[in-house]
Subunit: 200 residues, 2 copies
DNA sequence: AGAAGAATTCAACAGATGTTGAAGTCAACG
DNA sequence: CGTTGACTTCAACATCTGTTGAATTCTTCT
């Protein structure tokens, strides 16, 4: 008996436009600096409509950032070929994702995490539970120093993201995915499977 | 003949207090999120006094960030012992600086550069001219791929800074400088002097 | 046609921001 | 003493922020 009369919620075009504009804004300005009014203007909409659809600014950020990130589909591509060369494949996949349109979402998370406390918590939780732990399990890298290995990988990859996509430091910006995989791949490989100099 | 009457500019205590409060604010909130009023309150001073001493907010940021960074004094300490083990020494020195009180300045630069365009330009320029070029010259690493090597080093070290000091990702936060030097030193060493897989 | 209700907009709120100019306070000089 | 001028504060400005509630448009149903 529910909902029989009234206008249908159809035509989610504007809703999607708001999401898209918010992703762009969050990606290039970060959570704090991005403004609802700026997002609304970018979507050609009244600011109040943003709240009508998504509620508070935090909820909008969650909606904008949550959807298009799903590392599960990338794991097979990285693992194909076994442990040998997994470092280079991980770097190449990482660069490919950040170069794609969906890389904006990652940039939004990183940019926001640096100045905003709860987004930092979000990114930390996401990196740990969705990426690091999963990668450790899939690669069979159990052991007492597994989290340290994962953290080292995260430091190198996030550093690459910071210098290449945020700081825009040459020549890393112009380097190809293959060049970066050749240069950084061995680092990641060693962090995952090599000697990292702990306890002996 | 100049300035013979009037109150002397003496007692720069409050001026220094403002500088100190601004460093703290910029370090933990970044350029955009840090506010003049917050800084003034932290220094126990009226907001207008901040402008009286430093002019605009950008000038205050420059004053707060410019002084206590001088990489020249650190270079000998990194170079002592020759090229062998320079990677580990660089990592250890890097961690030591960021762990010291002056690390706040670096954190301010990094946090600000991520959301603010002109601070990003500042940090980029600083990293290139004050650190990378100088390190290349002092280490005698001339060559066509010198800047790429330096960029790779920057990516790993900035990544360490992001994960350890901004994102606060365990177990990197609790790791000692020696542990980090043992784990990351070889990476830096290879970026500087090893095979990074380009043109051959 | 008429009613219902989602989509959308208008106008305003309370608060924070950087900045400014005028005023007040106080130490050092002629 | 009286003037000078740096130090310091007060009050206000224009602008932006997130958010809200009422009003309006427009589509879909009975």
């Amino acid at each position: 008996m529910a909902r029989r009369t009234g206008r249908r919620p159809g035509n989610p075009a504007t809703r999607e436009a708001i999401l898209q504009a918010s992703r762009a804004a969050f990606a290039e300005r970060g959570y704090d600096a991005a403004s609802i009014r700026q997002i609304a203007t970018g979507a050609g909409v009244d600011p109040a409509l943003v709240h009508h659809y998504f509620g508070t600014k935090e909820q909008l950020f969650l909606a904008a950032v949550q959807a298009p990130i799903d590392p599960r589909e990338l794991i097979p591509q990285v693992l194909a070929g076994g442990v040998d060369g997994v470092g280079a494949r991980l770097v190449r996949t990482f660069v490919r994702v950040w170069d794609s349109p969906r890389g904006g979402t990652a940039a939004a998370l990183l940019r926001s995490a640096v100045t905003n406390e709860w987004t930092a918590r979000m990114l930390r939780e996401f990196v740990i539970t969705q990426i690091l732990r999963r990668a450790i399990r899939e690669l069979g890298l159990e052991g007492p120093d597994a989290m340290l290995r994962a953290g080292l990988v995260a430091s190198q990859l996030l550093g690459l993201a910071t210098t290449r996509y945020v700081l825009k430091l040459e020549p890393l910006v112009s380097a190809t995915a293959d060049q970066l995989a050749a240069a950084i791949g061995p680092t990641v490989q060693r962090y995952l499977t090599g000697d990292i100099g702990q306890d002996g």
